[in-house]
């Protein structure tokens, strides 16, 4: 009896160790970044220290008061939000079509869509620059928002289709019998039913647009340059502004952390559909 009782408890205790160690491993570089962001330049150059000796907010003050810095964040957030809205808006009807109807070429279209999620942006990069230059959109928020549609729309269609297929078809049919037109039905009845799915989709679109930097950086120069460009310039121009660079990095963690917090209960669900 005593052995059977002892074994599960010991296993549970050991089991805790794995995620705990992993989370510590995840937090160490983040801690180090935060640590650096609160140090003065002198202290950083003086050598290794595990925590800030002369705690300072100078780096943050510099970023939040200098337009060259904070516009980077505003630009990034602008094209990310724009992209999320566009992606979800065009993906909704498309996902409905895939989940409810068969049509000529549907399977090929779906596969073609997925290949775009898989295409390395580097492959298309210089062609993208030419395309958006000729559309007169180069160096605008819209250019980046549209370019990110390449991988976000396929993703959005894929996730939404999963959620929509979970809604019984009888609901559509009943609504049509009751005399609802398609747009009316879609907005008034169908969209509220998959509200959590739309939330999860928006989350993933936000996430992938927010983290992508190759296209964002190369499609912009001044007007719409993302925070990444500002950071790269700092890193290369003045050598040792590590404190500033670290503070800028810490600030980019905030939108992500907020978004995760809000959708924490849906994350696993979105992944459960296996469609990321």
């Amino acid at each position: 009896m005593s052995t059977t009782n002892a074994r599960p408890t010991r296993r549970i205790r050991l089991k805790w160790l794995v995620p705990t160690l992993y989370i510590i491993f995840l937090m160490l570089p983040i801690y180090w970044l935060i640590n650096m962001s609160f140090k003065t330049t002198n202290e950083i150059l003086a050598g290794f220290s595990p925590y800030p000796q002369n705690f300072t907010l100078d780096s943050y003050i510099e970023i939040l008061t200098n337009p060259a810095w904070y516009w980077g964040y505003i630009n990034s957030l602008t094209y990310v939000i724009l992209n999320t809205i566009i992606s979800v808006a065009v993906a909704l009807p498309a996902a409905y079509a895939f989940s409810r109807y068969r049509f000529v070429g549907d399977k090929h279209l779906f596969f073609w869509l997925l290949t775009n999620r898989m295409a390395p942006p580097a492959v298309f990069m210089f062609a993208f620059i030419e395309l958006y230059s000729s559309l007169q959109l180069f160096d605008s928020h819209l250019a980046v928002a549209l370019a990110h549609c390449l991988f976000n729309i396929p993703l959005a269609v894929w996730i939404l289709e999963g959620f929509m297929s979970g809604v019984p078809k009888e609901i559509d049919e009943t609504a049509y019998v009751d005399g609802y037109s398609f747009p009316h039905f879609f907005v008034k009845i169908f969209m509220p039913l998959i509200a959590s799915g739309i939330g999860v989709t928006a989350f993933f679109c936000f996430m992938f647009s927010w983290v992508e930097m190759l296209l964002a950086k190369n499609l912009t120069t001044v007007q719409a340059q993302p925070i990444a460009s500002v950071m790269t310039r700092t890193a290369s121009s003045s050598g040792y502004e590590l404190g500033l660079l670290a503070a800028a990095g810490v600030l980019t963690l905030i939108p992500g952390a907020l978004v995760i917090y809000f959708v924490r209960n849906y994350i696993a669900k979105g992944f459960a559909l296996g469609r990321v």
Binding site: V90, P93, M118, I153, G249, P255
Partner: protein, 294 residues
């Protein structure tokens, strides 16, 4: 669910199709266009397959390709088992489960250049916790001038960045297992290994295929993080395909060869994508067949 045949559904797909096509078809055509031409002081000449031959026979491309595969298989060999192990050890429900999920998802939402900067600072031999720590242990470590250190750092960074994706996918797969299975296993006195092999692994099969696919494809196009961390160096030791390609296209302006390389690169990812897609739909069909029989 049987679907009705309705070709008017194309109308619903159209706006999406237009937007994606602008981004996918036009650049692809530009790339194809360049791939068959040679540029000489702003003039373009038909080059046939010369660009493709040049790329396919160059050592530079072979080396970048070998590095790319070495990197991709290394991180897959680490991230997939590690992610599964962590998912198995996570609490299945309750407040701690959500705390774990939120903390683990954090690296996924960090802009890729910041991931690079973060590891750059973290691994500095004199100022970074990792670099300082390894040197303190008596191991000579400096990722800016030692290829081995650079590789270790790049792989550690990728494991740090992406293992959570595998964890979340595997965890979601595990969540879909009904408690009844575990109870039945307990009554039968099944070992921990048997539970994993015959209950958990089959249920995770589908999500694991997706995890491998995503990690393969995403690591195959890795660019920003490595560029910020090592700049492809020291020398060319961490120059993977994307980095090499951008160097060629924007740095050296050899558009013809860069375009040819783009197409070869794209075809490779397409092939892998198609293989996985077939694998996935097949296991879907099998699952449906089995469900139909029950």
């Amino acid at each position: 669910m049987t679907k009705a045949l309705n070709n008017r559904a194309w109308l619903l797909v159209l706006p999406m199709l237009l937007l994606v096509a602008i981004n996918a078809v036009i650049p692809l055509m530009t790339v194809v266009n360049y791939a068959f031409q040679e540029s000489f002081y702003g003039e373009f000449f038909w080059a046939g397959t010369a660009n493709f031959e040049a790329v396919l026979s160059s050592d530079r491309f072979h080396n970048a390709l070998i590095r790319q595969f070495a990197f991709t298989f290394t991180i897959l060999a680490i991230e997939i088992p590690l992610g599964v192990a962590i998912a198995l050890a996570m609490p299945r429900r309750g407040a701690m489960a959500s705390v774990c999920l939120v903390l683990m998802a954090l690296p996924l939402l960090i802009p890729w250049n910041v991931v690079g900067s973060m590891w750059n600072i973290f691994a500095l031999p004199d100022l970074g916790l990792l670099g300082y720590g390894i040197n303190w242990l008596g191991i000579d470590y400096n990722y800016t001038n030692q290829p081995v250190s650079a590789w270790v750092t790049v792989i550690l960074m990728d494991v740090w960045h992406w293992t959570s994706l595998v964890v979340l996918l595997a965890y979601a797969g595990l969540q879909s297992i009904d408690d009844a299975y575990y109870r039945a296993a307990k009554i039968d006195g099944a070992s921990r290994w048997a539970v994993f092999r015959y209950i958990q692994l089959p249920k995770m099969r589908q999500v694991l295929i997706i995890a491998v696919l995503l990690r393969f494809i995403d690591s195959f196009m890795i660019y920003t993080e490595v560029l910020v961390l090592t700049g492809g160096g020291p020398g060319n030791t961490t120059t993977f395909l994307s980095i090499d390609l951008v160097k060629k296209a924007l740095g050296e302006q050899v558009l013809g060869e860069a375009a040819a390389m783009s197409i070869i690169y794209f075809l490779m990812t397409l092939l892998v994508c198609w293989l996985f897609f077939t694998l996935m739909t097949q296991s879907d069909a099998k699952a449906e067949y089995r469900a139909g029989k029950d």
